[in-house]
Subunit: 230 residues, 2 copies
């Protein structure tokens, strides 16, 4: 399968590396590939510590293209951008390149502009998953994996014991194909909990505040939610 | 210990019954005791199916008083009211009766006025726990148990396996005494996860949307969150 992973940050790189290891073709989408390749990982820029060019040298099978070019050639799209810029990025990718495709939305609309703790925007009566689905009605949006660290997303065995990954989406067939993808990442069938339609992304995204608190309290990110009794 | 449980709905009754079984003195607080005793449990009123008078006949050791009288005599207060009226109820209880006392806040500010799903108000940049603590600075507010069904609150063994109850509050001594209360309900020490100050009630309250979704999907309320890897 040919995947377009939008976003060259830690989440995008981690998912891309995993997809390549599973034999898929992967192109990372970015705003300006030339700028991404020359960007340093200087502290304070919000970029990962490892410059993209250094990372790419170690991952020669991952391609790099503009959002639009990546989305055009990708059969399945993965939104690994910051949730506050996701709609802008997907607009740049081009609605016509999203049409009919499964769009796996991993993002959370965390707004850090007011300091710590961040707030979610949208939230409560809306969600990023719904906003993306509304804005790009031709895309088959499946919200998943947003409730954990990216290392756990692609390697659930990092967390011992049973734990869950949630699915939200209006397209049952799209959810079925995302289920297959999750299996290939190492998620057992029983660990995948289908919440329902894309509106249920609200609840999944609203897990982020307690997730961030827990990360601070535990001092690590190798944890995940398990619904005991499910 | 003498407990005042504010709210005569299912949550208040369940907690009161459990406290009495543990040998505590318990008074349920209500707006108008005479009205509570004559109220029928008619469908559509939002009241539990069993009229209060019927329930009380089976629970003769649980007292009934006004919010203010209950709060005045209670050594520990439990907020088991609907979260959208909690501040009004606590105001009726009287700030002077909350002064210096541990206030266990079980409530969630769910607003059903816009239909299903309900939204939280406040949420995201505030929480009911914080709102109560700000409004009644003399109370020692501990948010806990709000992330599960009331039957599970007082009998965690209803859910097989390990699962967590969260604590949020600014007063460490108050959290310590609530920890003891939770132990007496059957929560093992390792199941109690202290999130931090009262601000962390945001994350705990924001679990409600996914909790409600899960209840709908699972068809029962005997489940609870476990933080695997904690």
């Amino acid at each position: 399968m040919r995947y377009a992973v939008l976003g060259t940050g830690t989440v995008g790189r981690t998912v891309a590396e995993r997809l390549v290891s599973l034999g898929h073709d992967v192109v990372l989408g970015t705003r300006d590939p030339a700028a991404t390749l020359t960007r340093t990982g200087a502290a304070g820029t919000g970029a990962p510590a490892v410059p993209y060019a250094v990372w790419q040298a170690g991952h020669p099978r991952v391609g790099l293209a503009t959002f639009a070019e990546a989305a055009r050639t990708g059969e399945v799209l993965v939104n690994a951008t910051g949730g506050r810029v996701s709609v802008e990025v997907l607009t740049a990718a081009g609605a016509e390149h999203l049409e009919g495709k499964v769009l796996v939305d991993l993002a959370n609309p965390l707004d850090f502009s007011g300091g710590w703790p961040p707030v979610l925007d949208p939230a409560n009566s809306d969600s990023l998953g719904e906003l993306i689905q509304r804005t790009f009605p031709g895309a088959r949006v499946v919200k998943t994996l947003n409730t954990m660290n990216c290392a756990v997303m692609v390697d659930p065995a990092r967390v011992a014991g049973e734990h869950h990954v949630f699915l939200s989406g209006d397209d049952e067939e799209a959810k079925g194909s995302v289920r297959e993808l999750l299996h290939s990442f190492g998620w057992p069938p029983a660990s995948i909990l289908d919440l329902g339609g894309i509106q249920t992304a609200r609840g999944a995204e609203m897990l982020l505040p307690i997730w961030l608190t827990l990360m601070g309290r535990l001092g690590h990110a190798d944890f995940n939610f398990h619904v005991q009794g499910a």
